[in-house]
């Protein structure tokens, strides 16, 4: 089986408000798939349907060959879930929490190995309540891995992290990927999606508005930007031919004896593409 998750025309409404309006995507086994979108776009609703927490109104969903709406035990044996907000028992130690969860699975991983994998080896005997925010998230991840899942859901895994903690969390996700795990990651951080995901789906107002590798998404808008300041005012020009436009601009400026202040040529980043995609109002014009 090459696709770990298959979602087709997924729909869900809350009190008449459509949260998902026909979402379709596939996640291949072994890839890191990023679901990217602003708050309220439908990321968490989608993931919670896949995790078996919510019922869908319409559409077909298959997770590791199972229908998550029935939440069969066979499926729960093979997934690991890291929720956005969840507190594990504050009075147990790191190792104890792992051992407790390990007891729920038929074939758990070695507890000490998992504790070391998430970088809590030295905190193994520390009570959960004494951990820092970043360490608690590592614990969350460790507990999600203790059943040796094939598929891991990470719902906004680095929200609220400082930069150093984010980098180490990213390293962790990369190491999971190298273990062959399939990962579905939701995030509203673009750099996170760009750094971690093999493929990204951008979701906005309950619809997927774009999907592909980060490079493909950036490639969708090929325009380069030339920015400078004229008489103290910022000028931004978008062009498919940056070389020619830049040549014209600089020639004109040199001839006129003017300096183009703060002159720069930029390729669009994923962030620009993303902002364009999620903000339909924004003008892409000249």
């Amino acid at each position: 089986m090459s696709s770990a998750i298959a979602v087709r025309e997924l729909r869900k409404s809350y009190d008449g408000v459509e949260a998902l309006r026909g979402v379709s995507f596939e996640v291949r086994a072994g890839e890191v798939f990023g679901l990217l979108g602003p708050n309220g776009a439908g990321k968490t609703t989608t993931v919670e349907i896949l995790e078996g927490y919510r019922r869908r109104d319409a559409g077909d969903v298959s997770v590791l060959g199972h229908d998550p709406a029935r939440s069969p035990r066979a499926l729960r044996e093979r997934i690991g879930v890291v929720l956005q907000q969840s507190e594990l028992n504050p009075l147990l130690t790191v190792r104890e929490v792992h051992r407790m969860f390990a007891g729920y699975y038929e074939r758990p991983r070695d507890v000490d190995e998992v504790v070391a994998l998430v970088g809590l080896g030295e905190k193994g005997d520390a009570r959960v309540k004494t951990l820092s925010g970043g360490q608690k998230r590592r614990l969350d991840l460790g507990v999600a891995l203790v059943g040796d899942p094939d598929l891991v859901f990470l719902d906004e895994p680095t929200t609220g992290f400082d930069p150093a903690a984010r980098r180490s969390a990213w390293e962790l996700v990369r190491s999971l990927r190298s273990l062959g795990k399939t990962i579905l990651l939701t995030t509203h951080y673009l750099d996170e999606a760009q750094q971690l995901a093999d493929r990204v789906a951008v979701i906005r107002a309950g619809r997927i508005v774009s999907m592909g590798t980060p490079a493909e998404l950036i490639g969708e808008t090929r325009k380069a930007e030339i920015r400078f300041r004229r008489n103290g005012e910022a000028v931004v020009l978008e062009t498919d031919e940056p070389t020619r436009l830049l040549h014209e601009l600089t020639a004109e400026a040199v001839a006129g004896g003017v300096e183009l202040e703060h002159l720069e040529v930029r390729r669009p980043t994923l962030e620009d593409v993303y902002l364009e995609l999620v903000d339909g109002e924004r003008d892409v014009g000249e």
């Binding site: 927490y53 929720l83 907000q85 407790m100 038929e106």
Partner: protein, 252 residues
Amino acid sequence: MSVLLHQLVFEQRIFWRSREAAVFIFIFPLLLYALLGALYSDEIEIDGTLAPSSDALLAGLFGYGAANTAFAGLAILLVVRREAGFLKRLRSTPLPAATYIGAVLVSTFVVFALQSVALLALGAFVYDASMPENVVGFAGSVVLGTACFAGLGIGAASLVRSAEGVSAVVNVIVLPMAFLSGSFGPTRDYPAFLEAVGDVLPLTYFLDIVYGVYLDGDSLFADWTALAVVAAWGLAGLAVAVRRFSWMPRER
């Protein structure tokens, strides 16, 4: 079964490590017995007959302990874990819901059983209280009390929305109930309407059963009316839970 035992071990570890739980749930009824036992020295009237105050209070605080441990303790535990997102997280693991609830219930029973033993020991050594006339019936009432008040506790947990408010809510229920049911001393001098309220409370009927097995050596099943009322309350709590219990956090 082995998973239930596995979870039970962790539930016990969590309970005894929590100073709040250990003091509020385990120590508090013992403390009240020590206190009230020193205050009352005469006999206390129970259903028209006089009993030594040490015995009447032991039975009363045993009943309060059941409500405090199984109703208040369980409701607080479930709401706090639900709002922390812990229950939600558990649902994504292969641990069956029934196994988890089962382990939590057995853990509650263990705590209350130990508390009952401690209460009897305190009564025997300090206040010269009687030991149960019907030991098996008394042990049965530990199970009955846990079951009835745990049913109500799960029902209450299904209705309370916030982790911050749950301790207050359950204590506003348990403490007046204990007073009105006579856990802390005779209700003879209470106004009629308070007595009327007392007459529908589950703790009143549970205490009737406890007085029977503890003081008179009656069978646990001697008073069918009381047994039916206690069972009805427990089932009513359970019915609320079946309709309203949620593994997902309510707030946010």
